[in-house]
Symmetry: C2
Subunit: 189 residues, 2 copies
């Protein structure tokens, strides 16, 4: 998606040839007009699938997923990283390792919100090692719902996550796929 | 706001006369059509203030804030609960006690996103003890930006947060103010 690639080139910051910081417009400060255009692009790609639920993971996927959901006219569920006493009853649960924070989180979704018959689209801001997305895939499979695919904003295509998730048979649509990057240049696939 | 009050009566669950669970439509599964209407109501209330930034806190405020921001045509910033290596440079920082989780979090916003001259609207899903909102107020005051007010979805008016924040001189507009509640009935102000 041209608009997102141009924005990454303009406002993204590459640190140590490995970290791509997009906190000016994607995951700390959030450009809502950009999110609307991203939502329209995913609607073009996944619209015919009759999505009934969008599933994301806290925290930085939530804003993108909610704005995108307006194009799909369906609710958004966000997987929570810890079990709080405000979540009642039974939950689907999986473990997700965060490479950014160096931690392992238990990630849960209340069973009442994902059921067989649902057609689920995953949305997240980043795909790098694929751990978060694989966790979401696992939660959907536990629920018996149908997994329509995954809409990703930025895929670091030189890291293994995209291949891993696609090899599970999941349709992954990343709006910007970074082929390589350094302090001077970002190249897209 | 009638629509939100009716939804709370229909889908909210009161636990132990103290906890109001709204995870079917507000803070786990999220009803985006409802969020659009909430955004329109805040735009009616705060529209004349020429808001330049909306500030919320992870995680459950993010979706509401992003959908509401479409009415204000401005970016959203979410305050982050831990310092990660993906946040560069200097940050504004404050402490927020979570009564739900029984923890104290360091909450940060990158200094590059809040500046004198900004007119900031706070958005959050709940106002109970007011700790999170007071933290956001503190972050705005550190930045030198102007605080326009706070848009809250659900205020538990029988808890001290609303009075505390209003006594700081902050305009608080809660779309549903719960006066009292038990397992059988929820009464609004």
């Amino acid at each position: 998606m041209k608009l997102l690639e141009e924005r990454i080139r303009k406002d993204g910051i590459v640190v140590d040839n490995e970290i791509l910081k997009v906190d000016r417009f994607l995951n700390h400060q959030m450009d809502i007009n950009l999110f609307v255009e991203m939502g329209k692009e995913w609607a073009r790609l996944f619209g015919p699938e009759n999505v009934t639920k969008i599933l994301t993971i806290e925290a930085s996927g939530i804003g993108i997923a909610c704005v995108a959901a307006e194009q799909f006219n369906c609710p958004v569920i966000f997987a929570k990283k810890t079990k709080t006493r405000n979540i009642a009853g039974e939950v689907y649960s999986t473990e997700v390792k965060s490479f950014t924070h160096g931690t392992v989180n238990q990630v849960i979704v209340s069973k009442q919100f994902l059921k067989p018959g649902d057609k689920v689209l995953l949305i997240d801001d980043f795909l790098a090692n694929g751990a978060a997305l694989e966790g979401l895939v696992d939660l959907v499979r536990q629920s018996g719902a149908e997994l329509v695919g995954a809409g990703i904003a930025v895929e670091k295509a030189f890291q293994p996550g995209g291949d891993r998730i696609r090899s599970l048979g999941v349709r992954v649509e990343s709006l910007a796929r970074v082929k390589s990057m350094d302090n001077e240049h970002i190249e897209f696939c």
